[in-house]
């Protein structure tokens, strides 16, 4: 995620972003909440054209070209101006968007995209096979400085323009998550003309084929979007045709959570993204607002251990720590009741989530004590911390510097202390934390890593993703041949039983390895005034999609 943004002091470190909902998750959400994905037509009446929607966001990316950033806010901002090659439909399945259809070769290494015709970018240039190729090149061009998109398409070798609207992408090896990643906002399609003529302007004035265009961008302050004339290629799941209803969207950076909440309630903004959990109850209770609390897919919030060094190179110590933490109590207190505890390393909303993993890692302080005794940490020092050979059982957890220490880490510190762990929270500037992270110089790190593909398990726990030349997201340094095998099988298999079996076994294997303590599902929390109707939610990331949203008079 893009560190580049002003973060509210309470914002805990995130490992990442991307996201999606499985069919099961979506059902749960449709019954649990006020039907965010399906436009709530029953109460909203006939759509009205016009008006500007005022939105406040918690951070702004500094650059609006999804290919060049990893900011979480791109999930929302990207949907305004970009369209993607494919989309994930209401069931979380890959569906047509700028590509009408695609074929995958037998060996899983060639993807042939049949593109939609008649689509244009807002600069008037056409969408065609050549432009798709240009976009792949732009994502991986080192000059783009891509922190995310390039890695997602890393298996892409080259492409062939078969004809104007047919493009063949050649991959180095079978990589089924390819289509899922193409549905993410970071991989939205830029104008080929802009990429060729003025790539340096894409950050400030990106040009897409989406329902809105960037009219004005004031870095650090606001982004004004205007309705795109002639837009007519929204994905089917949005259940709409033609141009957006809103004249425009005015997005303003309001970094203080209290102010974001107050200015929503006072009517200064119609919608706010990243509503703070401490304000959620108030907004939820207010009949003038719609509040959404949607789980993101990918990796839930995990305190990840560093398996490459003591004390967490010892399985018993890892199991002991996991057993020492009352996840439910911690989650309840942190999220003011809006967070859902989880005991898996995969979010429940992710495709191929296997519920049979539940209950394996449980809160059991007695067992934690036994495990530590057995692992030789039987001594106690003056302060009550466990020792072995005169050395204290210390765990260093670096985190981003803020005015108050992360409440999550403080709670974990308290929980672990009960069985004798000395958890030390080390607050560092972002730059220094990044370097520590790169060097692997920590005992544990807390964070999430969202993506809309179950391949997140590969990204987080496959040995090839251990930090080496670049930052890898396997920050736990998990290096397990059995798990590697399962994750490779899963990403190479077609969507279906083989992948399902492999992902299920991988989830179980992770519970044997215990690369960390899974804590809670990291939700997307947003709210809007009830004068705003038909706010849709993407299954790639549970953020508001405003294409066919409208404002009542």
């Amino acid at each position: 995620m893009n560190a580049s943004v002003l973060r509210p002091a309470r914002n805990r470190k995130l490992f990442g972003q991307v996201t999606a909902l499985s069919a099961v998750g979506l059902l749960a959400l449709l019954t649990g909440c006020a039907g965010p994905a399906a436009p709530s037509s029953a109460t909203s009446g006939e759509p009205v054209s016009g008006g500007i929607l005022d939105v406040s966001i918690s951070a702004e990316p500094g650059c609006l070209d999804g290919h060049g950033i990893s900011a979480t806010q791109q999930q929302f901002l990207g949907r305004l101006i970009y369209d993607n090659v494919v989309t994930l439909d209401e069931n979380g399945d890959v569906a047509p968007y700028l590509a009408e259809s695609w074929d995958v070769s037998e060996d899983g290494r060639t993807y042939t995209f049949h593109l939609r015709q008649g689509v244009t970018f807002s600069d008037g240039s056409p969408w065609d096979a050549e432009v798709l190729g240009q976009n792949f090149e732009h994502m991986r061009d080192p000059a783009t400085k891509s922190p995310l998109a390039a890695a997602y398409i890393a298996p892409y070798v080259d492409g062939t323009v078969v004809d104007d609207y047919t493009f063949e992408a050649h991959l180095a090896y079978p990589y089924t998550p390819f289509l899922y990643t193409l549905a993410q906002s970071w991989l939205g399609m830029n104008s080929g003309k802009a990429i060729t003529e003025a790539p340096e302007t894409l950050c400030q004035k990106p040009v897409g084929t989406g329902p809105f265009t960037v009219a004005d961008y004031e870095p650090g302050q606001s982004i004004s979007y205007t309705r795109r004339e002639g837009y007519d290629w929204a994905p089917e799941w949005l259940e709409g045709d033609g141009e957006a209803y809103l004249d425009g969207v005015e997005v303003t950076l309001v970094s203080e959570p209290v102010i974001r909440h107050q200015s929503l309630v006072s009517g200064q903004y119609d919608l706010t993204e990243n509503l703070a959990p401490q304000n959620a109850a108030a907004v939820q209770a207010d009949p003038n607002f719609t509040y959404e609390n949607l789980p993101r897919t990918g990796s839930p919030y995990v305190l990840g251990f560093n398996l490459s060094r003591a004390p967490f190179d010892d399985l018993a110590v890892r199991q002991a720590f996991a057993a020492a933490v009352d996840t439910k109590a911690v989650t309840e207190s942190l999220g003011f009741g809006t967070y859902t505890p989880i005991d898996s390393f995969l979010s429940k909303e992710s495709k191929y989530y296997d519920p049979s993993v539940e209950g394996v890692l449980t809160y059991d302080p007695e067992r934690a004590n036994q495990l530590l005794d057995g692992a030789g940490w039987a001594g106690r020092d003056d302060e009550g911390f466990r020792t072995r050979d005169g050395k204290r059982l210390t765990v260093e957890v670096p985190t981003v510097e803020s005015s108050t220490p992360s409440p999550l880490l403080v709670q974990l510190q308290g929980e672990a202390r009960k069985v004798g762990f000395d958890v030390r929270i080390i607050q560092l500037p972002q730059a220094q934390l990044t370097e520590l992270r790169y060097a692997g110089d920590y005992d544990a790190l807390a964070g999430v890593w969202h993506t809309n593909t179950t391949d997140v398990l590969f990204i987080r726990y496959h040995s090839s993703e251990i930090t080496g030349e670049r930052i890898g997201q396997n920050s736990s340094y998990v290096n397990d041949p059995e798990l590697d095998e399962l994750l490779s099988t899963a990403r190479e298999a077609d969507d279906g039983p083989v992948a399902e079996e492999a992902y299920s076994e991988a989830q179980h294997r992770l519970l044997e390895i215990v690369p960390g303590v899974p804590l809670y599902e990291n939700p997307s929390q947003f709210a809007y005034a009830n004068t705003v109707h038909d706010v849709a939610v993407d299954t790639s990331h549970p953020v508001p999609v405003l294409t066919y949203a409208w404002k009542a008079e």
Partner: protein
């Protein structure tokens, strides 16, 4: 001639100050631990490819020794090139240019509010009954001592959250400017008013005031026409403080009121170790300082010609 030499000397000193500021900032940011290339690429959560990482290091000379980075930086600076923002991927001059108007408007509004308030309160409260003086002085001390963030937050709670007279934040329209400007103005007023009143009280003891009063001049004209002229010089000397309060205060106020401006840019840049922008802002602040002090210096000569010969 004396005035010209004075200006030239001041300018030379000013350039030296700018060079020193650029060098110190460069050194300070260079010495902050942390890998700038990784930060440019999105921090610990990103997954840059090895090629991208190498490209970033070479683009920004991050693979070069300090002396090469510093030399290249100074060389560019001499040509008026402040470099490229790491984060915004814009020329620094453009990044600052986009924000400077908003901060200038905020600062100007704060001064417009602060100065009349300062002069009115100081003139009216000097040499008054001890209880009145204590109350006024007490308010000033509280305002001067309270962090800007708290003043701003209090104003927000009263006038935005509760009374809803003003918008909670943003840059839209004059209404959105009032509370942030007032926040800055109150902090400046708290300090300046105390200084001005003490000076006025000293001056009001002077024999020439007695002379003026004995000629039958009324109290207020005495204070404004005679005393103020003499008391104003120490206050003007404090303009350095005012400039610092405006620049520093804008960081807090802009963040609190979700305003665009140099303050917000500073915060984001420091957070991201966006070295070129940070140095650009430091240079800009130093330049403002130098210019303001030069102007004040010259103004002295008009208010009190003795200053030049002294």
């Amino acid at each position: 001639m004396a005035v010209l030499r004075r200006v030239l000397t001041r300018l030379a000193v000013g350039l030296g100050v700018l060079w020193g500021a650029a060098t110190l900032t460069f050194l300070a940011v260079y010495l902050i631990p942390g890998d700038t290339a990784l930060l440019i690429l999105g921090g610990p959560d990103a997954r840059p490819t090895a090629e991208t990482l190498a490209q970033v290091r070479s683009d920004y000379l991050l693979d070069q020794p300090f002396i090469v980075q510093y030399g290249s930086y100074l060389g560019n600076l001499l040509q008026g090139d402040l470099g490229q923002s790491y984060r915004l991927r814009l020329p620094v001059t453009e990044a600052i240019g986009q924000q400077i108007g908003a901060t200038a408007a905020l600062a100007a509004a704060a001064v417009v509010l602060a100065l009349p308030l300062t002069f009115a309160v100081a003139i009216l409260s000097a040499q008054r009954a001890p209880w009145l003086r204590s109350i006024v002085s007490g308010i000033e001390v509280v305002l001067a001592a309270t962090p800007t963030f708290i003043i701003g937050f209090a104003l927000l709670i009263v006038f935005s959250f509760t009374l809803r007279w003003f918008p909670i934040g943003g840059n839209q329209g004059p209404a959105a400017l009032i509370l942030p400007a007032l926040t800055l103005a109150l902090a400046i007023f708290g300090t300046l008013s105390q200084v001005l009143r003490n000076e006025l009280e000293d001056v009001l003891e002077q024999p020439f005031i007695l002379t003026a009063r004995s000629r039958g001049m009324r109290d207020l004209p005495v204070r404004i026409r005679h005393a103020l002229r003499h008391a104003a010089i120490p206050v003007m000397t404090m303009s350095g403080f005012v400039v610092a309060a405006l620049l520093g205060g804008s960081v807090v106020v802009e963040a609190l009121f979700s305003r665009q401006g140099i303050g917000s840019l500073t915060l984001a840049s420091v957070y991201n170790k966006d070295l070129p922008v940070i140095i650009g802002i430091v240079l800009l602040s130093a330049a403002v300082y130098v210019v303001v002090n030069l102007v004040i210096d010259l103004l002295y000569t008009f208010i009190d010609p003795k200053v030049v010969t002294a």
